[in-house]
């Protein structure tokens, strides 16, 4: 019985804090995770790409987590890009808003979320997702009326 209890306690994950990182290479779009997950601006297809570029800038500058939306739908929460560890409102991530990139980095999985420390953006394809052709701008006021 003692052996069973000991084994059970060893299996319990309550004391695990530090996660081990895994080296990964991922390709995807740099997104605004709050709008993507909350649905506050609409469905996930509308809050990516050119339609959402300005809002993604606002959210990134405001410190909302930036994510990398991979081609398979996985979202990686970006905690660092190269030497810039300002994961909330940092300059490097801000400039990549809505860009499609290839990144090399370390992946940390914790409690259902994927966190990514990007060592290097190996390819920056700029904005290739022309969602404004289908959705306009999201939100609409992101593009000011030039006649006013």
């Amino acid at each position: 019985m003692r052996a069973f209890i000991a084994a059970a306690l060893l299996l319990a994950p309550m004391s695990v804090h530090a996660a081990d990182g895994t080296r990964v290479q991922v390709k995807g779009e740099i997104i605004d995770t709050w709008c993507y997950y909350s649905g506050v601006m609409g469905g996930p297809d509308a809050v990516v790409g050119s339609a959402h570029h300005t809002c993604a800038l606002w959210c990134s500058a405001g410190g909302i987590p930036v994510g990398l939306l991979a081609e398979d739908g996985t979202v990686y929460m970006v905690l660092k890009v190269g030497a810039d560890d300002a994961s909330a409102g940092g300059d490097t991530a801000l400039k990549l808003a809505a860009h499609t990139v290839e990144a090399d980095g370390m992946l940390y999985e914790r409690d259902g979320l994927n966190y990514l420390i990007v060592s290097e953006v190996t390819t920056d394809s700029d904005i290739v997702n022309r969602t404004h052709e289908d959705y306009g701008t999201i939100p609409a006021f992101a593009f000011p009326d030039p006649n006013k």
Binding site: S38, G63, I64, M77, D85, M106, Y108, D111, L113, G136
Partner: protein, 188 residues
């Protein structure tokens, strides 16, 4: 022995059972598709520090994403948003409580379709011993303190120098100023 066995089994089962943290929550609904009110005690942590051991003073003072290490189950909840409806995250508000144990109230986003859980919009923060919780709405004031050169009327995000510089260079769509011109001609 029975108690020890029960405890051991409970430790195994705990992560398997979804816990309900909505009891006692006074969080205001934002009418979000997958919002779930949640009130829980947690340690306020710098997520990068927590995951990698790369730690800085004051949890980065708003420059790093902040997490809430929940007391009840040791789950790391990512704080994505404060209570302001103006594109502000939670990092500035929560960094004020770096490494403190507090009780937060707000909205969890749990969406099986998008395969997301443990992300949170924090609305209030209660420090042990305080009479009432503080509102998590200081982000834009702290932004203003960091950007005295951008003082003026209107929303902070319209005045942010970095955002303005990128839009001036790449346009609102991010595709260049010619694309913006075409879009404006077709839509206004």
């Amino acid at each position: 022995m029975k108690i020890a066995l029960s405890t051991a089994l409970a430790l195994i089962a705990a992560p398997l059972a979804a816990q309900d943290f909505s009891e006692g929550s006074k969080a205001r609904s934002w009418n979000l598709y997958a919002e779930v009110p949640a009130r829980f005690e947690a340690k306020v942590v710098d997520v990068t520090c927590e995951l990698t051991g790369n730690c800085v003073e004051d949890c980065g003072a708003g420059s790093r994403q902040m997490g809430l290490l929940r007391t009840a189950d040791d789950v790391l909840v990512l704080a994505m948003k404060n209570s302001q409806a103006n594109f502000m995250g939670a990092a500035r508000d929560l960094a004020l409580y770096c490494n403190q144990t507090v009780t937060v109230d707000g909205l969890m986003i749990e969406d099986e379709d998008l395969n997301v859980k443990n992300v949170f919009q924090v609305q209030t923060i209660l420090v042990d011993g305080a009479d009432k919780p503080a509102k998590a709405n200081k982000g834009s004031k702290l932004w203003a303190a960091d950007h005295p050169e951008a003082k003026g009327k209107g929303a902070w995000f319209r005045r942010d120098p970095r955002v303005k510089a990128i839009i001036a260079d790449e346009g609102y769509l991010g595709l260049g100023l010619e694309e913006d011109k075409t879009y404006a001609e077709e839509n206004f």
